[in-house]
Amino acid sequence: MRSAHLFCAALSWPLLAARVLAVPPPLPVEHLTVERLPPRSPHWVYVYDYAFDNETDARVYLFDGDSYRRLGQIGAGFYASINLSPDGGTTAVASTYFARGSRGARTDVVEFTDNSTLAVTHEILLPAKRALSVSSLFNLAYSDDAHFLYAAYMTPAASFGVLDPAAGTTLGEIDTAGCVEVIPSGHYRVSSLCESGRLLTITLDAQGHETARAMSEPFFDADQDPVFAQGIPTNRGNVFLSFLGEVHDIDFSGAQPTFAAPWSLVSPAEKGHWRPGANQVGAVHRELGRLYVPMHEGGEGTHKDGGTEIWVYDLTSHRRLARWPLKGYGLSRVTAVQVSQDPAPILFAATETSDLAIFDALTGRLRHITKRVAQSPWMLLNP
């Protein structure tokens, strides 16, 4: 039997050797690193996740509109107000935190995140009176040169804080007589929307103190056809859409705000029937002067219903350029839109079921749908 053993052993050695030769070398040891963001792309979008089911844990996801990948996350606390610095290099998040998570001592704070590393660099403590509302681009806003950061307060009496983001300090607080929001409206000017239909504009000096204030004439009727509080920045100012589809284009580039005659998104036959509606109700490509609006069919009380179509307009000619129905794509209604500001723009559209659709913003061709991009993607930002 010994010879049989020797024979089997002799037979198996080559097989064993062959196996050893065919197995690749072991994998190299890995080194744990922190991923660095690639160079900033104009097709990035910051997706604000309001996290409706657990509001104390809102966050912002950085999403790449070309690779359709999530690049990172910024924490956002409770009822956050969010904006990007004019150069796009910083995300400012004004939020509220409780010492015991869901309860306990309250801290209101603005946190600054470096958008090249997604690391928090510093914070400014605020008085405990931030405006706690579903967010818009005008609850927290930078001045045009980033010298000031304005933070809306509401107790429910309305005012705003003037902050120095570089020094990390609060400079003061300005009462706004019931008018709401902080809309940057020129060099060291801040405007607020009033229930009377007027725009309040406050001028500050370089130290952040008020030097003048002025009320415009009424430009909308809050009873007949209110404007959505969230305006959309344009090259010269802001566009405000009304519930019935009127477009109020305000130019902030002069000594005081000037109001173009309103024009309508809808024909007389469509008015009252087709309406804008969403959490974030429009986007503007500033260089091309194009306005993108989620539109739906509905009556009074549907101003927050998302869009079944995206309608596209030229802001100069007021012409409707396109209607993009969404039905064929299996998308639910669109509740937030944003457009990239580059010459080959893409349109981001977040839906009521939390998907993110990406369209070619010039042709309307659907490029991609990311399912469930966040829990409650109700606002989209890019610089």
């Binding site: 409706f52 089911d53 657990n54 509001e55 104390t56 409770f78 009822y79 509220t96 409780f98 998570g101 869901s102 309860r103 306990g104 309250r106 405006a131 706690l132 509302s133 579903v134 509401m154 107790t155 429910p156 019931g178 008018c179 709401v180 929001e181 929307l193 009033c194 229930e195 809050a222 209110p226 404007v227 959505f228 509080a229 009074e300 009380g301 549907t302 101003h303 927050k304």
Partner: protein, 171 residues
């Protein structure tokens, strides 16, 4: 339970009334059992248990289409341990609120409804409901449902929203 609901939903007083639903049931309970009452409401819990086993009554207080919810935004306290006009245990009502004008088809009247928030705990997370009849943007805060109306409470965390009849709307 429905009778008691109706009794208190028709009330034009606010949440903080002396003869609360809880105390009424407590009195009834004491009469029935003669025992010291626990903080729990035996009748209430049985009702809640029954509701959990069967589907919520269509267009009832656990349904977003309930007539009183015409301008509500948030989570229905009816699903969270409260009712359409009472806060769940351990939460605190907001003293300030927004209002809506809702039509009650059952009696053909329009009512002014106060939407107070119940505060001090994280979101209830069930029965979310957003309706916007007559709702206005935040420059008209009394009609706006985007604001956290817990804002003036000691603890501003938002849990759920109730709907309290203030009275009949003037024509």
């Amino acid at each position: 339970m429905r009778t008691i609901d109706q009794l208190f939903e028709r009330s034009t007083r606010s949440l903080a009334q002396r003869t609360s639903r809880r105390s009424l049931l407590a009195s009834v309970g004491q009469l029935l059992t003669g025992a010291v009452l626990l903080p729990l409401l035996p009748i209430d819990r049985a009702g809640v248990a029954r509701a959990a086993q069967t589907k919520p009554r269509a267009n009832g207080p656990e349904d977003c289409q309930y007539w009183k919810y015409c301008a509500i935004d948030g989570f229905l306290c009816s699903c969270c341990g409260g009712t359409s006009s009472s806060c769940p245990p351990g939460t605190t009502p907001s003293p300030i609120s927004w209002i809506g004008t809702c039509h009650n088809a059952a009696d053909g009247r329009d009512y002014i409804v106060s939407y107070n928030d119940c505060c001090g705990k994280s979101t209830c997370g069930t029965c979310d409901c957003v309706r916007n009849e007559g709702e206005k943007p935040i420059y008209r805060p009394s009609r706006n449902n985007d604001l956290n109306w817990c804002m003036a409470n000691a603890d501003v965390n938002y849990h759920c929203t109730v709907s309290v009849i203030l009275g009949v709307a003037e024509k």
